[in-house]
């Protein structure tokens, strides 16, 4: 008889797969940062952009293409104020270049307040509200706080970026979800049943792979009639994104299913008389889940970028819809870059989202890989 000594710590021998994954994931600081960033961004851009942005999406001011107002704590006399403020804008016309521009007038001081009243909106599309994260309380109609400048119609660019994020971020999620659905179902069917169904699905994915990716996007997007309603255009674009991209995922799922199908546990389940759907949904698809989740996370940025690129080229979303791609359209020209560079503010937001997804996806890959040797 072995007599275990009392000092020997009893460690749980087997942990469940997912708690092991979570334990490994937690150790990856970059992935955690990515995940938190995404939660914060999705919450602020998708759920409550109306609250965070100081102005309504379409609210036009008299200041067109105004440069961003600097948020200050120290006034022109060198005095420090605890409450941040901005200087008012004043129009100036350059007599040589015949260009209108705006300069800050240190005599007009607008203090910035948090949780202040502003343009009315409906929170979550339901609850009427008019409290914004920040804004001015001044009664002066010329009072403004444009922390990222304005566009050519005088709309606050920061607010537009906040609202634009909603469409851009959602298209990534929805598009990826559709891709996932199409890809894993068709891939699973193809791998599980084989035979003629498999051949047909295989040929279609091969065809999609042979077709150049971006041109296919563009050609399909160009085919969306211009007179369709914005919502329909948005929906169609999502479908197109998913349609072009499901092939790769389907191939991978097929490969996984093929290898899983021969494993002992599936054979065992079969010998117990499990039927097709049970085998598929209880035994095979869950086996591919971790792999699929990683691919999905890592492909969402591609979806977001595809929308951005298409809209930027004028083939995707169009005004009055506002997405980051639509916003970028304005900043495409050398003229814009020279004279209104604040219209490039969209790019850092996009990059942060992309980077966050990559960090999260990489962490997930390491955590989900059961042999995580790397």
């Amino acid at each position: 008889m072995a007599k275990p000594s009392p000092e020997l710590k009893k460690k749980p021998i087997s942990q469940s797969y997912w708690s092991l994954v979570w334990w490994r994931f937690k150790k990856n600081k970059l992935a955690i940062v990515g995940g938190i960033l995404l939660i914060v961004m999705y919450f602020s851009f998708v759920a409550v952009p109306e609250f965070i942005s100081p102005y309504d999406l379409e609210r036009r001011s008299e200041y067109t293409e105004a440069r961003p107002q600097t948020i200050r704590f120290v006034d022109q006399n060198g005095k420090f104020h605890l409450r941040p403020f901005v200087y008012g804008l004043e129009r100036k016309v350059d007599p040589v270049a015949r260009r209108r521009s705006y300069v800050e007038n240190p005599d007009r001081v607008y203090e910035i307040y948090f949780f202040t009243k502003g343009d009315p909106y409906k929170l979550f599309g339901l609850i009427p509200a008019d409290i914004h994260l920040f804004g001015t309380k001044s009664d002066d109609p010329a009072a403004s706080v444009f922390i990222m400048g304005t566009d050519s119609l005088g709309r606050d660019y920061f607010s537009r970026i906040m609202y634009g994020g909603r469409l851009s971020l959602m298209i990534g999620l929805i598009g990826q979800f559709l891709t996932l659905l199409l890809g894993s179902v068709l891939g699973a069917i193809s791998g599980y049943y084989g035979g003629r169904v498999d051949i047909i699905i295989q040929r279609v994915t091969e065809f999609l792979a042979a077709f150049p990716d971006i041109p296919l996007f563009m050609a399909l997007a160009a085919a969306i009639p211009a007179y369709w309603s914005p919502i329909l255009v948005y929906f169609m674009l999502t479908v197109i994104l998913a349609f072009v991209r499901w092939g790769g995922l389907a191939r991978q799922v097929r490969g996984l299913i093929l290898s899983l199908r021969e494993r002992e546990f599936v054979l065992a389940a079969k010998s117990f008389g499990a039927d097709d759907s049970r085998l598929m949904f209880r035994h095979l698809l869950p086996g591919t889940m971790s792999h699929v989740i990683v691919i999905a996370t890592l492909s969402i940025p591609g979806m977001i970028l595809a929308e951005t690129a298409l809209s930027w080229l004028g083939l995707g979303l169009r005004a009055p819809l506002t997405s980051w791609g639509v916003l970028l359209q304005e900043s495409m020209t050398v003229y814009a870059i020279r004279f209104a560079p604040w219209l490039l503010w969209t790019i850092p937001f996009l990059l942060i989202v992309i980077l966050a997804y990559n960090m999260l996806g990489d962490g997930l890959r390491d955590a989900l890989d059961p042999y995580g040797a790397r």
Binding site: M1, A2, K3, P4, S5, E7, L8, K9, K11, G255, L256, S259, R263, H291, Y371
Partner: protein, 358 residues
């Protein structure tokens, strides 16, 4: 040739792996000598540190392992001379000129074919690598080229000469049609043939010692006997020392003159093969011996197995590391006091409190 000429001395060797979860003492205080022309067997369960000890002799402990104490002394002798230099291998630069001359040139090594390491895989790339891990040869290059490469690294010969040597070596390890086989790729050879090629490569530079790390574990029993025969024959012809690592007691009885038994990084017993088999002292050695099935044993009696589980390497038991599984466990002693390495009679050494006065 006089008997018992020292070749390699391992003294109080300790190898630690600093991994994120803690420090693992893979080898802890191992001491033994290897003599010219003789075979030393090292036996123990997987993970007991026997392979790491072997790699320490070639100064190629895998990362993140480090030799933290002790040394490996190699008594080097130029071919044909009787003058010996003592080289402290554990002090050498792992990619330096000298150790590379010794590796392969003076001490050859052959490995287990890790059939067991076939991991379930995710993609095509891994499928290829799965095939790769079946053999220890570079899968993309002809075996002849790889032999020639090794030969040229150690002898000053031309390409053509090294090819001739390669063919000759293949013939000597019993590969049919060596002139053709020299141009084969590893995947075109069978498991047994691959191991013969590995032996041929290891012996092609006439080493003074061969380290065989479970060379036959992955082979069929019939092939195993042939490989062992080849090794024994080569040893006779070349007066070569062999360090034979295995977990198979049957094989080691055939090969070795002296045996070291290891458990959890520590050596627990060392004696001549005869003493180990007929007069084992350490309870672990006894347990190992009892787990061999014997012909003629009464049917119905169960094979003895060692109780309990291999302990967690991060959390080694206090006192004697074997005490939680030991049938002769003495409460209050074995779990408190670490046994010392003691000489019993002649060359029989053991590390167990049963033989100490405490």
């Amino acid at each position: 040739m006089t008997a018992n000429e020292l070749l390699v001395q391992i003294q109080n060797l300790r190898v630690e792996f600093d991994v994120r979860a803690g420090i693992v003492k893979a080898v802890d205080g191992v001491t033994f000598d290897i003599y010219r022309g003789q075979t030393l067997g090292v036996i123990g369960e997987s993970g007991c540190g026997k392979s790491i000890t072997a790699r320490a002799i070639l100064q190629m402990v895998p990362k993140p392992g480090k030799i933290t104490a002790g040394q490996v002394l190699y008594h080097r002798r130029a071919k044909g001379s009787t003058q010996t230099d003592v080289i402290n291998i554990s002090k050498l630069d792992p990619d330096g000129q000298l150790i590379r001359e010794i590796r392969g040139g003076e001490i050859g090594m052959i490995f287990q074919e890790p059939m067991s390491s076939l991991t379930p895989v995710y993609n095509a790339g891994s499928h290829i690598n799965e095939a790769v891990s079946l053999h220890r040869l570079m899968p993309l290059r002809k075996v002849g080229d790889q032999m020639a490469e090794t030969i040229r690294a150690h002898r000053k010969v031309t390409k053509e000469e090294s090819r001739q040597i390669a063919i000759e070596m293949l013939r000597r390890v019993g590969i049919p049609k060596p002139e053709q086989r020299v141009d084969s790729y590893p995947h075109q050879l069978s498991g047994g043939q691959r191991q013969r090629v590995m032996i041929a490569i290891a012996l092609s530079c006439q080493p003074v010692m061969l380290i065989a790390d479970e060379p036959t574990t992955a082979l069929d029993v019939s092939i195993e006997a042939q490989i062992l025969d080849i090794m024994r024959e080569m040893q006779r012809n070349e007066n070569m020392a062999i360090m034979f690592i295995t977990h198979n007691l049957g094989v080691i009885a055939e090969m070795a003159k002296e045996i070291v038994v290891m458990y959890m990084g520590k050596q627990v017993e060392r004696a001549s093969t005869v003493d180990i088999f007929y007069d084992p002292k350490h309870p672990y050695t006894r347990a190992l011996l009892q787990s061999i099935p014997k012909v003629g044993r009464k049917t119905g009696t169960r094979l003895a197995s060692i109780e309990g589980m291999v302990p967690d390497p991060f959390n080694l038991p206090t006192g004697c590391v074997f005490h939680p599984r030991c049938p002769s466990f003495m409460p209050g002693k074995c779990d408190k006091i670490a046994p010392t390495w003691k000489q019993l009679v002649g060359d029989h050494w053991v590390s167990c409190l049963l033989y100490e006065e405490v």
